[in-house]
């Protein structure tokens, strides 16, 4: 028997899409039955009470969660987000309902053993509800009480060899696309780089030292499956410097209709026969492809947009001189409008042999600059907007080049520095007056 009546939520149980309401109800029942005889460490009826408080929000059109308080595990400034219900008497099961962020394996591959072990902890010590996964990338355990936090952390680290993720003004849990593990487009090993930097910067992840949050995301090619360019302070996007590799026989097979274009992505509708001129040549944004029975690409003009490769994956392959571009400063609208990442480093090798040292140097330089110049609660994108991209480029020590801009500046209000000008800025008024009367 459900603890609370939920007539509005019940309407979300119909329709084909998986219903979170049905799932929570199923969990409420399982906990009430308690077939394994667990000694639940937080109220058994928290799923019921969560539905109750949610129904109340559906009626009021207002949230019933309070502003988070400060909770966490000893020595960490992140990983746990405090959460309290604003109707604790009505819904005691969720009166204290903190979120725990758990570091996910990169690319989000799991063994069922690991998942089951994680679920055992969360069954006993938490609400039994999760987000798989949070928008930032980590495993999100939804809802537990303060006394359980250290216990959960102890079990995670001692029994599962897993740490908490990040929250607060620190490095957030980095996330990568699945890259080389199953994608032929991967220009570098996004998962390995993500793992390596995550390990290198554990201190920054757990102990807030920054003006505000900082996110790394890793897309192994310009298709951008984890949206690095739009939502990470530093995005690492795979690319290449040499030419696209062409297999002319496979091109012919696409033209002849033996292979479906775009890996079959358009199979749901009859778009007519594949027309290489219309679908590839004419759509190339830099106009650098031609076809006359043989496909030719003027690679020097290619902007590596991926279109031709995505359209004919069996005929065209990314180049062999691969690495990544680093972009900086993406963020959602708060506070000053949305920002896309801006190109900071056009190309850098992703080199496991030197433990990715070149990339780590870039990260350190970027942070040094931001920690020096950034204001409290200012994302690095906003600091860049305030002080200029060139200031960051200089701080990182990259050679400035035309790739850094879409087009040159529109206004000539150039902030020249004294050292840019012959003779500097120190001048003698008396000397000036020798040439100009008052």
């Amino acid at each position: 028997m459900a603890k609370h009546k939920t007539p509005l939520l019940d309407q979300l149980e119909s329709g084909p899409w998986p219903s979170f309401v049905s799932d929570i109800k199923q969990e409420a029942e399982a906990r009430a039955k308690n077939e394994k005889g667990l000694d639940y460490q937080i109220p058994v009826d928290c799923p019921d009470d969560l539905l109750g408080v949610l129904e109340m929000s559906y009626t009021d059109g207002e949230t019933h969660w309070k502003h988070g308080g400060i909770v966490g595990v000893f020595g960490y400034g992140g990983g746990v987000i405090g959460r309290y219900c604003d109707q604790p008497e009505m819904f005691p099961g969720v009166a204290h309902f903190h979120t725990v962020r758990v570091a996910q394996p990169n690319g989000k591959w799991y063994s069922t053993k690991l998942l089951r072990d994680l679920m055992d902890i969360w069954d006993l010590r938490g609400s039994g509800l999760t987000n798989m996964h949070g928008a930032t990338g980590d495993i999100v355990f939804l809802g537990t009480t303060t006394p359980q936090l250290e216990e959960i952390f102890f079990e995670l680290t001692h029994n599962l060899d897993i740490d908490l993720g990040g929250s607060g003004s620190n490095l957030r849990t980095p996330a990568s696309c699945m890259g080389m593990s199953r994608c032929e487009y991967a220009c570098y090993d996004s998962q390995e780089l993500c793992y390596n930097l995550t390990m290198e910067f554990q201190d920054e992840l757990h102990r807030p030292a920054f003006p505000y949050k900082f996110k790394f995301k890793f897309d192994a090619c310009p298709n951008g499956c984890v949206a690095a360019i739009a939502r990470s302070d530093l995005s690492f996007i795979g690319t290449w410097k040499d030419g696209i590799r062409i297999n002319q026989e496979a091109v012919a097979a696409y033209v002849g209709g033996e292979i479906a274009p775009n890996a079959g992505a358009h199979a749901g509708r009859d778009w007519g026969a594949f027309d290489i001129q219309k679908e590839v040549v004419d759509l190339c944004p830099s106009g650098c492809i031609s076809y006359d029975g043989k496909l030719t690409i003027d690679n020097k003009e290619c902007v590596r947009c991926m279109h031709c490769i995505n359209t004919m994956p069996r005929a065209l392959k990314i180049g062999e001189e691969t690495g990544c571009s680093i972009l900086c400063g993406a963020k959602a609208p708060i506070l000053d409008g949305p920002q896309m990442g801006s190109l900071l480093i056009p190309f850098i090798e992703v080199n496991k042999d030197d433990d990715f040292q070149d990339i780590k140097d870039v990260v350190e330089n970027v942070w040094d600059w931001w920690m020096e110049e950034g204001k409290n609660r200012e994302r690095i994108g906003e600091t860049m907007k305030r002080l200029g991209l060139a200031a960051l480029i200089n701080a990182v020590g990259v050679d400035v080049d035309a790739r850094h801009v879409q087009e040159p500046r529109h206004n000539p209000y150039i902030f020249w520095k004294a050292e840019d000008v012959d003779g500097g800025w120190e001048r003698d008024i008396n000397d000036f007056r020798k040439r100009h009367q008052r």
Binding site: E13, W17, F20, G75, P105, T112, T157, D161
Partner: protein, 381 residues
């Protein structure tokens, strides 16, 4: 309920403490075929909606079956996923960026069998547990945020709006009949944890009433200078009020400057802004993050407000369906939603999608606004 100790000793918190060990290495969880062909893939194909084939340079093949989840998932549900992965996939499973599941199998027959099996799994009340789809030129799972389920600043619910939307566009999840992929994203407030600012279609919770000031408690709960500094438009200033003869240190609001971002509330719980009538949803379109053909682009607001209509948000889903159907009917193959709108012109977009254009759609927020005004006489009647 007796307290069960994990071994942690609160009197000696540092004893045997393990910290800063990070995530487990992903290499431990790769299915054998993935491990063997790591970085050596040749090509992929979408065999049918929700089923991918990846072929390695070695000639090895692996089939992936992709299925949706609601993201908010319970322990019971995840154990069910484990059972499926144990039975069909040697104990491995993967989650995608957009909260889909991926099961890896060896043969096409196994993939089809698994797809059929997944499509049969249903909750007692009728909805599917793991519908298969989300590949190619279709709609994939919606990335979304917490909403009324678990956050303190939402202007709408996340799980409910997503469920309502996906039910309406379900066809486009299980099929691949659109001109290009369409990514729908959902964020329940302007913080945009879900980063919807670069999505083909974005559902965004917005507030429309300035914060209520809890004068009698504000000074106890908040650092007034922090609340003042938090406001990006300078709408908050320190002030004093008198209530029942008692003077309180508090803040005053220049309401006409408020753009309802909720930042002051994040810094100060005595400035709540949620409101049943004030809150609702803005719909944005035309963003993308891939570099394919055109550059990554921001989403644009095309409907400034639809009211919250729980549990199924009918006005919102109607607008989304109309935009999606019009795009599907009119765009060229490979053309993303925003590229289509740019090609035909936004004035035409509003006409074709039957959307009214109002003053609220003309940007007025600082410099970025200027770049969105039309500075040419090239426009369409």
């Amino acid at each position: 309920m007796a307290f069960i100790s994990s071994g942690y000793n609160p009197d000696k918190p540092m004893e045997g403490r393990i910290s800063d060990i990070g995530p487990r290495h992903f290499g431990e969880y790769l299915p054998p075929v993935i491990k063997d062909n790591f970085g050596k893939w040749d090509y992929h194909e979408i065999i049918e909606p929700g089923v991918l084939l990846h072929v390695g340079l070695s000639g090895d093949k692996t089939y992936t079956v992709r299925a949706a989840t609601a993201r908010l998932m319970t322990v019971t549900m995840i154990r069910e996923i484990c059972d499926i992965a144990d039975k069909f996939c040697g104990g491995f499973v993967r989650f995608t960026t957009r909260n889909n599941l991926e099961f890896q199998v060896e043969t096409e027959e196994a993939a089809k069998e698994l797809k059929a099996f997944l499509n049969e799994q249903k909750f007692a009340a009728g909805s599917m547990k793991f519908p298969v789809g989300g590949t190619g030129a279709g709609v994939t799972n919606i990335v979304h945020t917490q909403g009324w389920v678990h956050c303190h600043t939402p202007a709408t619910d996340a799980s409910g709006t997503v469920k309502a939307t996906m039910d309406v566009v379900f066809d486009d999840f299980t099929d691949m009949k659109l001109p290009a992929p369409v990514r729908i994203s959902m964020a329940c407030c302007l913080n945009m944890c879900g980063a919807v600012h670069c999505s083909d279609i974005a559902i965004l919770g917005i507030h429309r009433k300035p914060p209520i000031i809890d004068h009698e408690y504000l000074d106890n709960l908040c650092e007034i200078p922090l609340a003042v500094a938090a406001c990006p438009t300078g709408a908050v200033r320190p002030s004093k009020v008198e209530i029942d003869g008692k003077t309180y240190k508090t803040v005053a609001l220049k309401e006409e400057r408020c753009m309802f971002c909720g930042n002051c509330y994040t810094m100060c719980p005595s400035l709540p802004l949620s409101d049943g009538e004030g809150d609702g949803i803005a719909i944005m379109v035309g963003g993308k993050i891939s570099n394919r053909i055109t550059k990554p682009a921001f989403s644009k607001v095309v409907v400034p407000f639809v009211p919250n209509e729980p549990p199924r948000w009918p006005t919102m889903t109607k607008v989304i369906k109309k935009i999606l159907d019009t795009y599907a009917a009119e765009a060229n193959k490979y053309e993303r939603l925003g590229d289509w709108a740019n090609r035909i012109g936004w004035e035409r977009f509003f006409e074709k999608c039957d959307l009214p254009f109002s003053e609220h759609l003309i940007d007025d927020f600082r410099d970025p606004a200027y770049y969105t005004w039309r500075q040419t006489t090239q426009f369409k009647w």
